[in-house]
Amino acid sequence: MLDLVWLIPALPLAGFLLLLVAGRRLGEPGAGWVATLAAAGSFLATVVVFAGLLGEGEHSRSHVVSLFEWIPAGGFHVDMAFVADPLSITMALFVTGIGSLIHLYSIGYMHGDASFSKFFVYLNLFVFSMLMLVLGDNLLVTFLGWEGVGACSYFLISFWFGKDENASAGKKAFVTNRIGDWGFMLAMFLAFATVGSLSYSTLAEEAGNLAPVTATAIALLLFVGATGKSAQLPLFVWLPDAMAGPTPVSALIHAATMVTSGVFLMTRVNPILAQAYDWAPDVIAWVGVITALFAATIAVAQNDIKKVLAYSTVSQLGYMFLAVGTGAYVAAIFHMVTHAFFKALLFLGSGSVIHGMGDEQDMRRMGNLRTYMPITAGTFIVGWLAIAGVPPFAGFWSKDEILLYAFDASPVLWALGLVTALLTAFYMSRQVFLVFFGEERFRQPAAVEAAAAADADAAAEAEAADATTDAPEPVHEPHESPWLMTVPLVVLAGLAVVGGALNLPFTPDLHFLGHWLEPVLYGNEAHVDVETGTKVLLAVIATAAGLAGIAAAVAVYLQKRAKAVEPEVLANGWYYDATITAFMGGPGRAAFQALADFDKGVIDGAVNGVATLVRTGGRGLRTLQPGYVRSYALGIAVGVVVLLAYFLTRVSF
């Protein structure tokens, strides 16, 4: 059964090719169903491989299927090979599982779109690339998938490319990711130069022989790649803008799967990270926790329903890197899985809201939607409780585990993580209350328009301007979404409730995920030495923080006891984006212009100078060859005389 691993990426590839050729003819909803079946078939294949892997002994759970020798170049050998081991299959399971649900959802969401079939072409290509990424047996196959998902991300962010900002959001994502890919490629070069192979198993075996400085360099360069793909400081800027794409894309690519590939990569190369200097994991942990806190503060003041979730995703990814940095690889993967459940749920829920509200994304123009969209509201609330860390929902267990390891590593990391947890609960509650509770603000367009016009937020202003031009705007009556969209919501809500059962902390027997992942971690998982009493206390504090966040949101947004604090600086994301723009537009542009001038003047000048010199010299020399035979003869004669004179005089002296 394990040899079937090639089938997992092959099915979405087949779906992609079929849709590429016949997508338009299949039309709506045929193309969507083909894509969904391809993804679901891939999920079934993954389940079969998973079952096969369970049948193996605990330490022989790594099966490499080599399809062909991809690059045979002297000492450099790379196979197109897939590996079925606990880590890759865990990833493949939730990628294909959640992917299938989101495909199904998209049939409903993309209903009536002019490019309906094209959307599913990209979606299947994405699933294929993502599976290449997680199943790859070596860094290069993973890199192939890495670039593939990057390209699909670009296609899908700019899916509605008719609008300028969508197109530029796609470009922003692509360019920002290039910076990260630079690190990934350098890490590959370095790994090949020092180890001589890119295969994960060889890297794991040889990691112990690497010099710490080399291991640190490889690990941190891969981390540079991870900060790009997984939207960490300083490269997170593309993810909030990526919300320009259709909402299922945000759920699948920019919340559940692609953005977690950085965490996956760092987990995959854990032997190298273990060999690196001690400060290397600390760098990862600190970048993670600072990103988590930074993004959580921004999420507090966003008004776009998807922007809140985008910053929340950045923040949760920071959590995962905090886990990786503190050696809690199992917790990182655990949180990745539960986060995939509840964040995909939240995004799909927000998509359902946007759909039901007639493409309205501003939370200030919503309110009390729970009476109109009961299923969406119910499932969204489950997602909210899961991300806020309320027991027994999935998010509580994984977040708590990360905080435990963080506490063991450094109380400061733990404190920052705790503040983030509080903020997370607060901004998610704010979102739920603004959208599903309170008064119905969508019936008073004028008042909201005034509020929006007063707001400096550029997007809101543009929307308000749109609304004015469309005046008199008909009031859109919210409606519940079709079953195609609510079924995935219900399934994901179920998973968000019980997802924590993957790795319950009570007894060692309940660490299912921990035992399952043990073979791929090579004993590099950190061991916490904390008493049970302290563990319980930490869990209580974390829960209290989450509940405090919810309570604060209740007081501010539901009971309106205090005025909402949404500082301008947070709404604008600490002006991080604006600073980059100002810097790149000013000194950055000047610096690059200087570089361009240097290139033109000095580098090109040197090349052109040599050419000019040769040409001038040649022009001078050609006069020596006039074409007159007699002058050549004279030349020979003179030469002979000179030579004779030379030899004769030399002989005589």
Binding site: L621, R622, T623, L624, Q625, P626, G627, Y628, V629, R630, A633, L634, A637
Partner: protein, 105 residues
Amino acid sequence: MLAVAEVTPAWYLVLGSLIFTVGAVGLLVRRNPLVMFMCVELMLNAVTLTFVTFSRMLNDVHGTTVVVFVLVVAAAEVVVGLGIIVALLRKQPTATADDLTVLKG
């Protein structure tokens, strides 16, 4: 008087250098391709004569051997050279060597 003057090898050397000079000067001053070609032949034969003379003077057979080679090469060279000149003059009967500047730099 003539009988008194004994023909020594030096005479042959002088004759060779005279013929060579005639050929060299002719090559430099004439423009007719055919005449220039004949001048080259003169120089070649002058050298051959010198070779034979030295061979005799030094009692070394190698000089004579070289002459045989030179004759063979000269015969081949004449065939090619005359072929070119005939082809050229047939195309342009009044051509001089100075007109043949197709390959100038």
